[in-house]
């Protein structure tokens, strides 16, 4: 299974905010057991998608050179269950960003309905320590993660390299 819990970015403003979507398909394995006859997206996977949206937002600021890891979720509220067939929109906004880490406010919605919200805290792994533990490989930002961002074109994406394009 590929550990990517967002399908596409809709909007990306470097160092500020990102919006991504996740289509919940009944073909996803976890719906078989969670739950039989009632396909609810597991809350932890919703949070993972939100964290991936936020993590890419945070990582892009430094050109994905830092290893950004999910450090804690101080607060998460799920307003309702989200079911197969729905499209989740993940909004992440940077609250704080420092060399040591970042805090992101995340929101999940279906249509105009806010279905979940969470605050997510990311740590930048200390370069030296990270080298000892994991070697040089950037296990956080694999090619696939960056590919997702690369699929965006035009004025919807305003990354560090192309900042200053149209406001959307």
């Amino acid at each position: 299974m590929r550990w990517i819990w967002i399908d596409r970015f809709l909007d990306f403003e470097s160092g500020k905010s990102a919006r991504a979507i996740k289509n919940l398909s009944l073909a996803e394995d976890h719906f078989r057991d969670h739950f039989p006859g009632y396909p609810v997206m597991p809350a932890a996977l919703i949070l993972e998608g939100l964290a991936q949206t936020g993590g890419i937002l945070v990582g892009e600021v430094n050109g994905f050179q830092e290893k950004v890891v999910l450090a804690k979720v101080p607060r998460a509220v799920f307003h309702r269950e989200m079911l197969a067939g729905e499209q989740l929109v993940y909004d992440a906004e940077i609250l704080h960003l420092r060399p040591e880490g970042a805090a992101v406010q995340g929101r999940v919605s279906v249509g105009n309905e806010l279905t979940a919200e969470a605050e997510i805290f990311f740590a930048h792994l200390d370069q030296a320590r990270s080298g000892q533990l994991f070697g040089d490989r950037n296990f956080v930002f694999s090619g696939e993660m960056k590919y997702l961002l690369g699929r965006m074109t035009g004025d919807k994406i305003r990354t560090g390299g192309s900042a200053g394009t149209a406001e959307g």
């Binding site: 450090a71 804690k72 101080p74 607060r75 609250l95 704080h96 420092r98 060399p99 040591e100 880490g101 805090a103 805290f121 740590a123």
Partner: protein
Amino acid sequence: MPTQEEIYNKVSATLVEALNVDEEDIKPTSTLQGDLGAESIDFLDIVFRLEREFGIKIPRGELFPESIFQGDPDLVQDGRVTTKGLDELRSKMPFADLSHFEQNPEVGNLSDLFTVDLIARYIQGKLENGTNN
């Protein structure tokens, strides 16, 4: 300028959010790690929240200094903070009450310096000096 009590109450509310503890468990003398269960990553979270709550900037190492903890032999010897180390603490943390720690300056006791009261005193000093940048 908020009163001492207002600052304390806001600090307390901040810790409730950051550490997911009950407000009743927070006392001025509560230590962040020992009593309130803070882990290393929580310190940055606390810093972010305090900045937001009080509209101040807290530079890295100002509230939670790192130099003393990194095993510099001038500052720490045989697991104890040296006289020079204590001076360093005094200069880096004028808002800390070292009177108790000085009696037995073991490195292991350093974390006990970080109490709810210490944060409130730090914030108060920061607001009084208007060093918001």
